[in-house]
């Protein structure tokens, strides 16, 4: 590893840390800008009760002190107690929801990558044939149509009209549709990426050389072409995770999957402020780190990329 690359990784790492700190700061101060604090929406508690509650949650201290306490807690992965769900800590809720969401997200990402690479390569190999045109039309549509529309259509067709699959995402069979709904957009995107970079690679001289030397067509495709065409797909991993995280907010709401997204959406409506803060920071950190990793992988995998 050369020094330039090490310097770049270090720089990106500090930028990521700074961004996470900023997210924590924004989340904290923005949530505390809400007038009246989190207890205002309760059924008008007496001033004594409010004061007692505020003392319990440390809300009577100066705001900077509260921020430092919160920041120290976040560093220890402790987001404090949930305001609306009694006796449960935010960390606990997040971890429980994340188990489900991570399963869903990983399955969707896997599905998207496998089908995306296969269909994208097929489209490139059969350039301008029927299969290419069909894939391109479908992927154009799936890139443009919002995920929640796709998810509702899937729900409508497969659960309501055909009743093949359960609409409740808390069962194993009910996870099939959310996974498909989450994977369609990244899949379409990967198809387009793979197709255009495969078309580029297949026109290169070394492919012609390999073919001229009598290498089997499959081997040319997988060993020579796909390996070189895969770099843009790797770099898409970061944004893909970001999409799956935010996409799962609505998809989990639509299919009633008991994951992090559903908790996040319901915490918005319950005004569970500590849960909103905790989930935002957790998800943001996840997204920022995935972006960081895919940025670094990009530079490591493709030495042609110039470091600036």
């Amino acid at each position: 590893m050369n020094t330039k690359l090490a310097f770049y990784i270090l720089k990106r790492f500090f930028l990521a840390l700074l961004t996470i700190f900023l997210v924590i700061m924004i989340t904290f101060f923005v949530m505390h800008a809400i007038p009246g604090g989190p207890f205002l929406s309760e059924k008008s508690p007496s001033p004594e009760v409010t004061a007692a509650l505020e003392a319990k949650y440390g809300l009577d201290k100066p705001i900077m002190e509260q921020f430092w306490t919160y920041l120290k807690g976040v560093l220890k992965f402790d987001f404090g107690p949930s305001i609306k769900q009694r006796g449960r800590s935010v960390t606990n809720i997040i971890l429980e929801g994340f188990k489900v969401s991570a399963k869903l997200g990983l399955a969707a990402a896997g599905l998207a990558i496998v089908f995306g690479l296969v269909l994208g390569s097929l489209a490139a190999v059969f350039h301008n044939k029927v299969i290419d045109k069909v894939t391109m039309v479908l992927s154009t549509a799936f890139v443009a149509i919002p995920s929640f529309i796709l998810a509702t259509f899937l729900l409508l067709i497969f659960c309501v009209k055909l009743s093949w699959l359960p609409a409740n995402g808390s069962t194993a069979g009910g996870l099939i549709l959310p996974i498909i709904a989450l994977s369609l957009y990244p899949m379409a995107y990967i198809i387009r990426l793979t197709r255009s970079s495969m078309l580029d690679v297949l026109g290169q001289d070394y492919i012609r050389t390999a073919r001229a030397k009598g290498v089997k067509p499959n081997r040319v495709l997988f060993k020579h072409a796909l390996r070189n065409a895969i770099t843009p797909v790797i770099t898409y991993a970061g944004p893909m995770i970001a999409f799956i995280v935010t996409g799962s907010l609505v998809v989990e709401k639509i299919f009633a999957v008991p994951g992090l997204g559903k908790y996040f959406v319901s915490s918005i409506f319950n005004r569970d402020y500590t849960l909103i803060m905790g989930t935002t920071i957790f998800l943001a950190t996840l997204v920022i780190f995935m972006m960081l990793i895919s940025d670094i992988l990009y530079k490591v995998f493709d030495p042609r990329v110039e470091l600036s």
Binding site: V23, M31, V160, L249, V250, I254, F269, I276, L283
Partner: protein, 359 residues
Amino acid sequence: MSENKKMPKKNPLSFQLDLSKFTPASEEEKLQQVQMRERTTFFKDGMRRLWKNKIAMTCFFIILIILLMVVFVPMVYPYSYEQQLGLTQGQSVDSSYLNLKPFEYGATEQARIAAGEKVFPHIFGTDTAGRDYAIRVIYGARVSLLVGFFASIIVLIIGVTYGSIAGYFGGKVDLFMMRIVDIIYSLPDLLMIILLSVVLKTVLAPVIEGSWFSKLGTGMISIFIVFTLLYWVSMARLIRGQILSIKQEEYVLTAKSIGASAFRIIRKHILPNCISIIIITTALQIPSAIFTESFLSFLGLGVSIPMPSLGSLASDALTGIYSYAYRLVIPAVFICLIVLSLNLLGDGLRDAFDPKLKN
């Protein structure tokens, strides 16, 4: 005149030009100068290419039809988007108006039809509160398009200003300004939008109470604020990159040497040269803004009741999906049509006005 005069004979020793080489052109020679093809401008040339692009033109007409519909239909439509048809002053709610299927009528309307009166049909039926669904969808499309348009204008103004300042002045100014952009760029935008909308919804409500803004709703205002704060960064990056290369050109140097101010150079010499990229990015910003708005409305953070938007209509329809599936399908199809057509039209604009950008 001089042509008619006999040409004087040239002295062989003279260094003067041979005048016989400057005779008037013959008819044949003149014909060579005729322009076979009409002169074209940058704009005309782009429009010609766009006109040839069938997909882009189809999308353009779809958008045009939707635009005309959302502008003119609410003017002539007999029902309004917030009018609850079963509700009359001082009487209990007439439940025969709630949840009408398409082309069904409420009790009093049926009486009027029986009396020989003509009643405008409820094309898509009515919703759970007895409001005509067709006008709500059209009004929702209007709200979504307006949000998309104005959000893009905001992004355009801020992005272009910021990007051109950073790009033109370069050096430390550029470094500092672009670090800010880098940080905003790496913030997870939808999460931040949700967070800001949650807060702004509560903070703004008492501030705008009673003013014209309260009709717009806190959700809508927070969407605009969020766009102002976060969405301009990609535009700023793009403009900066363009300006960094354009400012190396000789005509910028010339303008500088005759003492033109920085503002004038940016406005008169640099921006007109990256106008195509500005137009294209703005056009592609509209569907993304519509997407964000419908996403937020779907989560219940967008427009406030009774104002509809396509996202909130789809979200409301989700509860009655088993009996009234068409209520979900109609706004969903509208969103798909608008977003897809705008995207494809944007791509078409890009191919027509800036073919270099294609890859």
